[in-house]
């Protein structure tokens, strides 16, 4: 099939990129690594008239970490760089693991964490962990800049809260609180390198064995990566026993609304949400207790 023709603009500054987006209107797309966008164009799922690349904007690929303010991942920071970053591996190991479990080597060397989020696939590997850790996105647009919680960002498959002309310039992840633990589990039919059929990310904060706070996010089982709020409530304030974890996992599974598609059936996904939730919560608990 013919590749649609489009203009390619690679501005050097964020405000120029925003201007190019505003000028281009609805048929303009932002590109970071291009690993999702160009494939969609090639497969004629998208027909943009203009592409605005962020790759020439200096500093946008920065990854910075500060013990007070937390972690910032720039819009063009590569998945591979996030997976290998020393501070991320030390303070946010699950963020690094999720980046590492995204796609394959070639995609990780081209694609970006922020791009993975902006693509808004329900199965995006990076979303559950980042949502669980309370990440926020930094957005710049024609009317200035603002922040948004990541769990408000996803609106549907391929749809985000971004308005015309807006760009996600970076994502911020606060420093995990004391006594917290995180985990991400994903699963697909093929094994090691694959698009996830189900993903579960979590962060729990414990005092002793008591759960003070928890966020539990399920990927690929709803139109967006979804928080299972009911399941979270079951844990807060309680002793995090194996029995309670199992009950919570069942509840989390019930909250999701998976579909049957080429990657898995809905009944299988429901089952697997429970299995992976048990594993993720048990792992996060272990990490929170300093045993991992």
């Amino acid at each position: 099939m013919p590749v649609p023709q489009f203009d390619y603009i690679a501005p050097k500054r964020v405000d120029e990129a925003v201007a190019a987006l505003v000028e281009g209107g609805k048929e303009t797309r932002v590109m970071a690594g291009g690993t999702d966008l160009l494939v969609k164009i090639r497969h004629r799922m998208l027909f943009p008239k203009r592409i605005v690349s962020l790759k020439q904007i200096e500093g946008l690929d920065a990854i910075t970490f500060d013990k007070n303010t937390g972690l910032t991942i720039g819009a063009t920071a590569l998945l591979a760089d996030v997976a290998a970053h020393r501070s991320i591996r030390r303070y946010y190991p699950t963020v690094a693991d999720a980046a590492q479990s995204t796609a394959n080597v070639q995609v990780r060397n081209m694609g970006t964490v922020v791009g993975n989020l902006c693509n808004a696939s329900p199965s995006a590997d990076n979303a559950p962990t980042l949502m669980a850790m309370g990440a926020t996105v930094n957005i710049t647009g024609p009317t200035g800049s603002h922040r948004m919680a990541l769990d408000q960002f996803f609106q549907g498959p391929g749809i985000t809260a971004l308005k015309t002309g807006e760009i996600v310039t970076s994502i911020c992840v606060p420093l995990p609180p004391a006594g917290s633990g995180t985990a991400y589990y994903s699963l697909s039919q093929r094994g090691k390198l694959d698009c996830s059929a189900v993903g579960v990310g979590t962060m729990v904060t414990l005092k002793g064995n008591r759960c003070m706070d928890v966020r539990l996010i399920v990927g690929a089982c709803a139109p967006v990566p979804m928080r299972t709020l009911g399941a979270e409530k079951m844990l807060i304030g309680k002793k995090m026993t194996d029995t309670l974890i199992r009950k919570t996992a069942q509840a989390a599974s019930k909250e999701t609304s998976p579909i049957t598609d080429v990657r898995a059936s809905a009944p299988y996904r429901w089952k697997i949400v429970a299995v992976l939730t048990i594993r993720a919560l048990a792992d996060a608990r272990k990490m929170a207790l300093g045993k991992r």
Partner: protein
């Protein structure tokens, strides 16, 4: 035994460097001046009558040079079973009806690819949709829609095999079981999608460069469909990036490229996309396999009654051969005193199934080997013991079909048991971990001639030169399996030359000797190898005569060929270099070059194959019983491919086979909605990745096949079959879940364990 200097050594592939550095030329790399780009319009519906086709808008587009539909081409069907014209059921472009989503309806040639693609979208086709059938059950229902008028029952062909007395056999059995197995379609997924370039010269002769396994078959069928003489068609096979059975017929783009090149006077290229390959391409036959077997209580096989429905898709393709071979694979591993097979090839409104690595064996052996494991379980006999009791040995007969010559099956079973630590593991693995076995036998080329060639099955020409080099010409097709290397090895070894002394011209129907039936059925090493040996033998006769005359040798002397020299055995000083000997002969012939032809056609070898390979494979798996996911931890293989001509090449075939078998067993499948294939990219058509490959260990059993070149037989195809039954048995051993319908997905495991 003779000590070899090149045979049996790890000789690197002669095309390896060119492929690794990107210099190897594939069909899509070929660009000719003023070349046009072709694109096919395919049917969007599974079954319909074509009411009208309007190409006017497309034809008016700038850059469009040619548009053809079924109405523009000769109304001549084609198919590989030329001997039975009734089986030839395909037109290059649909005439009146379309029979699957993807059926080729029209073709466009334009100045560039984008224009061709845009033009295809402007062709308007009016269809009258007909009800479709998408599986065998629906196709065989009374009053089911008829896909081809020539087959009112939708059964296009059947094959039967029978010997012994099946009823008496079951009556004499202590234990009888009957099972139905279903197996699914998978893609060849060769790395190089199909591509071709056709050129028509001023004399209206056609040259076609095409990614094919069978240049000779393409030449003949292109000639017949174009109403041309065979010799006016030249087919050249460039480097080919894999075929696995998917590139062994004349295909519509080859016809359309040639036809439109003739129409326009300009070269025309077609290159398929991966999406086209996955959505519309050939695939392995899904089968419904009903098998009834009878045993004595000690595990001795008495009788087998096998019935197979092959889901053929919309056209016969290579289905008739698969229908025949499946019946033979059903009884090739073990001695069945009483055997009956009925195979029926059924049309459905799906992309046609065809030949695919194993040609019926992966399907039938999944059923047969799984059933053997089930019987072993119920009879309380170790799965390897029950096989040893029934294993085919040298001299056994497939009644009326063939006599097994060399056979290392028993040794393979014992070796697989030893290297895998089978006996210990069968007893002492913890829950969730298991080992299982699967076995295979396979043909080394087919003896049948349904293509009805008038030529030898394989041929070779060897030209020897006074500079000490030789030129080997053969129509044999290296499609990535390494036959060019092996044929050179055979020739170099025989003539006492080095690999680099041999120039090879292969797979060019105008330049290489007639003929070669192509690369399929694991025939190339044995058949083309024998043709090379035959030609080499004649060259040697001449050169030996020259040396004998030059040194006035007693006629009782043997003449040896080694290290680039020709000399009297035991008297190396009585000899000369190979080149000097050639010069001597050429002088004696008054300038006539030293050239000989050799050929091979199997004769008196029964109905199937001149030689049979055997092997056994053990898989060890871990099953996550909460998610149903299966991790294959290791594969152990012991196999008999006769003399190993090139260990490195055999190892490559083994690893490729395990990879393909792994996908067949666990993850590869077409997700279909009626006649529509939903997973048309490698993201969702799940071939195992490098990271999914288990480690392996293997043993080659030392046998010598009298009919094979230097004792060799096949190693490229049979090995793909044991993996699925071995893994299935290992999963059963690990969990108690017995899979009878491939693939073994996590969902099926959980359902089987009652957890879903």
């Amino acid at each position: 035994m003779k000590v070899h200097s090149i045979i049996g050594k790890d000789i690197p592939r002669t095309d390896g460097r060119a492929k690794a550095t990107g210099q190897a030329i594939y069909a899509d790399d070929i660009k000719l001046p003023s070349m046009l780009y072709g694109k096919l319009l395919r049917s969007p519906v599974p079954h319909a009558r074509i009411l009208s086709i309007d190409t006017r808008k497309a034809a008016a587009m700038p850059g469009v040079r040619c548009i053809i539909t079924g109405q523009d081409i000769p109304r001549i069907t084609y198919g590989n079973w030329r001997l039975f014209p009734g089986t030839q059921d395909e037109y290059a472009l649909a005439m009146d009806k379309v029979r699957f989503i993807g059926d080729e309806v029209a073709a466009v040639a334009a100045v560039d690819r984008d224009t061709a693609e845009a033009a295809v979208e402007q062709i308007k086709v009016e269809y009258e949709e007909l009800p479709g059938v998408f599986d065998v059950t629906a196709a065989l229902t009374k009053n089911a829609p008829v896909i081809h008028d020539t087959s009112p029952t939708n059964i296009s062909i059947d094959r039967k095999i029978a010997y012994g007395d099946i009823e008496a056999g079951f009556a004499a059995s202590d234990y009888v079981r009957e099972d139905t197995f279903t197996v699914h379609a998978v893609s060849h997924a060769y790395m190089e999608p199909c591509a071709c370039v056709a050129q028509s010269d001023l004399d209206n002769r056609i040259t076609l460069w095409t990614s094919t396994q069978t240049p000779y078959i393409v030449q003949c069928l292109l000639a017949s469909t174009l109403n041309m003489r065979e010799n006016d068609i030249r087919v050249i096979k460039p480097n080919v990036g894999g075929g696995f059975g998917g590139k062994m017929e004349l295909r519509p783009w080859e016809f359309c490229a040639a036809f439109m090149a003739r129409q326009t006077g300009r070269p025309v290229k077609f290159t398929l996309t991966r999406e086209e390959e996955l959505a519309f391409g050939r695939r392995r036959h899904p089968m419904t396999i009903r098998s009834k077997v009878g045993y004595k209580s000690d595990g001795t096989l008495v009788a087998k009654d096998l019935h197979i429905y092959l889901d053929g898709g919309a056209y016969n393709a290579m289905g008739p051969t698969a229908t025949f071979l499946s019946g033979n694979f059903g009884a090739m591993l073990y001695r069945y005193p009483n055997y009956r097979y009925i195979g029926e090839h059924v049309y459905t409104n799906k992309p046609p199934a065809s030949a695919m690595r194993g040609f019926g064996a992966p399907q039938t052996l999944f059923a047969a080997e799984t059933q053997m494991n089930m019987a072993a379980e119920e009879l309380g006999i170790d799965p390897i013991e029950i096989r040893l009791k029934n294993a085919m040995v040298s001299g056994n007969e497939l009644p009326g079909v063939a006599t097994i010559s060399s056979c290392g099956f028993v040794e393979s079973l014992k070796a697989a048991r030893r290297i895998s630590g089978w006996s210990r593991k069968r007893k002492r693995l913890k829950t969730g971990r298991g080992v299982g076995i699967g076995c295979y036998s396979f043909i080394s080329g087919g003896v049948f001639n349904w293509f009805n060639t008038q030529y030898p099955f394989s041929a070779a020409e060897v030209r020897a030169f006074a500079d000490g080099t030789v030129h080997l010409l053969t129509m044999a097709s290296d499609i990535g399996q390494g036959s060019d290397t092996v044929l050179k090895q055979i020739l170099a070894e025989t003539l006492g030359l080095k690999m680099e002394d041999i120039r090879l011209t292969a797979a060019d129907t105008a330049m290489t000797p007639q003929a070669d039936l192509g690369t399929w059925g694991s025939r190339v090493t044995l058949m083309a190898g024998n043709a090379v040996l035959d030609a080499a033998k004649k060259i040697k006769e001449k050169l030996a005569g020259a040396v004998s005359a030059r040194f006035d040798l007693n006629v009782i002397f043997d003449i040896e060929f080694a290290d680039g020299r020709v000399f009297a055995a035991g008297k190396p000083d009585r000899g000369m270099t190979f080149g000097e000997a050639v010069a001597f002969v050429q002088k004696a012939q008054r300038g006539e070059p030293l050239v000989y032809r050799g050929s091979y056609t199997p004769r008196g070898k029964g109905l199937v194959s001149p030689a049979f390979s055997f092997g056994a494979q053990v898989a060890e798996v871990t099953v996550d019983t909460d998610t149903g996911q299966i991790q294959v931890e290791k594969m152990w293989t012991a196999h008999d491919c006769g003399t190993v001509l090139n260990p490195m090449a055999v190892e490559g075939q083994l690893e490729g086979s395990v990879h393909m078998g792994l996908g067949y067993a666990l993850s590869e499948q077409f997700v279909m909605d009626g006649g529509k294939t939903l997973n048309t990219t490698f993201l969702d058509y799940k071939i195992p990745n490098a990271a999914d490959m288990p480690p392996g260990e293997s043993v080659c059993i030392d046998t010598f096949e009298p009919e094979g070149p230097m004792g060799a037989k096949e190693a490229g195809e049979g090995l793909v079959s044991p993996t699925a039954p071995a893994i299935a048995e290992a999963v059963f051993h690990a969990t108690g879940y017995r899979c009878k319908d491939l693939p073994i997905t996590p969902e099926k495991v959980l359902k089987g364990l009652g957890k879903l």
